[in-house]
């Protein structure tokens, strides 16, 4: 795809991979970063010049955990709406989970999704495939062929591979095939029928609880298998202090483990569900204030490698119902960046940490040469205005669904422009132009 060369002038370029945080220019050409540096005035002829004064210029954000619902549940989201919403949130690439209908457990489906996404305007589609056939936790899918077709990760997200012998083989095969192994770590019987975190609030609301231990038991098993096999494992959406502590200990012991958390676990607790708001029902559930603080500490000390949204669109058919019948999950693509931006300020962390959490580390997890603006890299970048304050209105979302837990929240920092492969795929206030 051809694109007009872009010159992004006088922005604050924040690229921890190059140890760079200064005001300078970025030149994009033929879908790649041509140059980064101050005063690149020459050679801007024939380029579209973007004045980025006062803006942050970030390597394009990568979300390692989204549900785009295609195929099978296109009434909730599809590739077009999901990738557009991602771009509006500053993401230049998103990893789609395979728990669709049918699940993405065959190479042909991976190839067809990737091919369809190429024609769409928005973030790049990265595809994960099922760890096991039909997400049933029994037989491995064909990892080498899935990789060949373009998959970058395997996961049975939504379910935990309960059989430890199967999971052992999963980790070994995924390593050899160059696929990241992502685990939805939650033990079944301890959490079955649970609605929210097990604690005071579940008692008060008369809802069955999901104890933090249901996560920790599963996390421990996964970490132990990573230790046994020497193969890496990535723990998805860590929600509790106990699980995080396990990850911290195994990391210190040299086990190859990475983990993510989601913005909602860093900003909301089970007390926020006290009005039976189904837009705050997700799995794993929102936990206590102590868990939230522990996760924030994990962001500070680096135990948490990355932030991923777990964007999980659901329609009113799944959410405007009795709490116990409501589907788990919330949308998050368009709120993650301003929230994490706010978190960096609260924790007195530099913006380069945000880039690590939301771009560099996700790229590393998935083995992609993204997450940096080093010359020669893909021209994927996010222009961000850190000053713009706004009140979030989910009605403006480009997602097909409206199940945000952050409706009406005051936030600071807006995406001004999202560029993928040198092409502008989102521009604030530009409607459908681009």
């Amino acid at each position: 795809m051809t694109s007009q060369p872009l010159a992004i002038k006088n922005g604050r370029v924040i690229d921890p991979a190059q140890d760079l945080d200064r005001t300078c220019d970025v030149l994009l050409e033929d879908g790649r970063v041509a140059a980064v540096g101050p005063g690149l005035g020459l050679g801007t002829e024939g380029r579209q010049v973007v004045d980025a004064a006062g803006l942050w210029v970030l390597p394009g954000l990568i979300d390692a955990h989204v549900h785009l619902r295609e195929p099978g549940h296109e009434y909730k989201e599809d590739l077009a709406s999901g990738l557009a919403a991602a771009a509006a949130g500053g993401f230049t690439a998103v990893l789609a989970m395979p728990n669709t209908s049918p699940p993405v457990d065959q190479a042909g489906l991976v190839a067809s999704l990737l091919s369809k996404a190429k024609g769409l305007r928005g973030a790049r589609l990265l595809q994960s495939a099922a760890m096991t056939r039909g997400l049933r936790g029994q037989e491995l899918t064909e990892y080498a062929e899935l990789r060949e077709a373009g998959a970058v990760a395997v996961t049975d997200d939504g379910r935990w591979v309960a059989d430890s012998a199967v999971m052992r083989r999963v980790l070994c095969y995924a390593r050899v095939c160059g696929l990241a192994a992502l685990s939805h770590a939650q033990e079944g019987p301890l959490s079955d029928g649970g609605q929210i975190h097990e604690g005071r609030v579940s008692t008060r609301l008369g809802l069955r609880g999901i104890p933090a231990e249901a996560e920790a038991v599963a996390v421990y098993r996964d970490l132990a298998l990573a230790r046994l096999t020497g193969a890496p494992v990535h723990v998805c959406h860590v929600s509790s202090a106990l699980s995080l502590d396990l990850v911290r200990r195994f990391k210190a012991g040299g086990t190859r483990v990475t983990c993510e958390t989601a913005p909602h676990y860093l900003f909301l607790t089970d007390e926020d569900v006290a009005g039976y708001d189904t837009c705050r029902k997700m799995n794993p559930p929102l936990r206590t204030a102590a868990d939230l603080e522990a996760l924030r500490e994990g962001i500070r000390d680096g135990t948490i490698d990355l932030v991923a949204t777990d964007h999980a669109p659901h329609s009113v058919l799944e959410k405007e119902v009795e709490f116990m019948d409501a589907a788990f999950g919330v949308i998050g693509l368009e709120t993650a960046l301003p929230l994490i931006h706010g978190l960096m300020a609260e924790l007195s962390l530099p913006p380069s940490r945000l880039v690590e959490l939301m771009s560099l580390r996700p790229a590393g997890l998935l083995g992609l040469p993204l997450g940096t603006l080093r010359p020669g890299s893909a021209a994927d970048l996010t222009l961000f205005d850190p000053q713009a304050a706004f009140k979030y209105d989910v009605g403006t979302s480009l997602s097909k669904s409206r199940n945000s837990p952050f409706q009406g929240r005051e936030m600071r920092g807006r995406v001004v422009r999202t560029v993928v492969g040198g092409r502008t795929v989102f521009a604030a206030g530009a409607g459908d132009r681009g």
């Binding site: 008060r204 008369g206 809802l207 039976y276 119902v321």
Partner: protein, 320 residues
Amino acid sequence: MAHEHLSWPKDLIDLDQFGAEHLLAILDAAESFREVSEREIKKVPTLRGKLVVLFFHENSTRTRLSFEVAAKRLSADTIALSASGSSMSKGETLLDTARNIMAMNPDALVVRHSASGAPQFLGSRLACPVLNAGDGAHAHPTQALLDLMTIRQRLGRLDGLKVAIIGDIAHSRVARSNMIGLRALGARVAVCGPPSMMVGGLEEEYGASVHDRPEPALEGADAIIMLRIQLERQSGQLFPGAREYASVYGLNRARLALAKPGCLLLHPGPVNQGVELTPEVYDCPQSVILEQVTNGVAVRMALLYLLVDNSERKGPARAA
């Protein structure tokens, strides 16, 4: 009446909506409505021309009957919808049901539902008052109020009393609402149940003292609320067996003797005789189980009066 300076919420969801003043005002109103039930003509025109919809998504005989009698004694018209007889059994969602009920322009909706939070869901979407007649394991505010009324009637007060609640605390909306109401009116609550039927957070959330065995909970109690055991849970892992339950947690004469002399015995009914209570305890003079039923009508009359009259004063209802 004493309640006239108080403002009332649109819906009755749980007793945590109220402080002591409101709770006592409800009990006082219920006392005056109880008198109506003792007249020869047991009817007042208070809600004449009003429509009260009784929506019972979960089976209930007593509570439904009690609300129906209460509404009729206030001269309201009632219609009853049950899940099996309504289009809910044909796959209609709760939201659709709510919209259809709304289209009938009722003056109050009484709802019993197996899902915790369902009355709140309906209350936020319907313009008329919604009265919770029991939702999941969450709340059963009218049951708790009739328990409070019964204890106050017999003992003259609630402040400073010790009340023991024994049984399946985890799944009990009756226990939860009672713990809230009793605490608000100054009573101490001691709870006990099999470990598989207990939940965490009872001390912090409700200020209750929690006991593994019934004896310390019963010791010195002024009133005992025995909860109904769902015998159908026996097949699961929650409940080893009715015989064992009766021997460890059931109320017999020996255990009753641990409580204060004249200690009241309450049960939300229906009683599994021989399980929660031995038959001689059920029939003992301290048993106020049938008074609870009588008071239930009075409490429900009071609430229908207070909430329907309240929405009246605020003007015609609008759809949310």
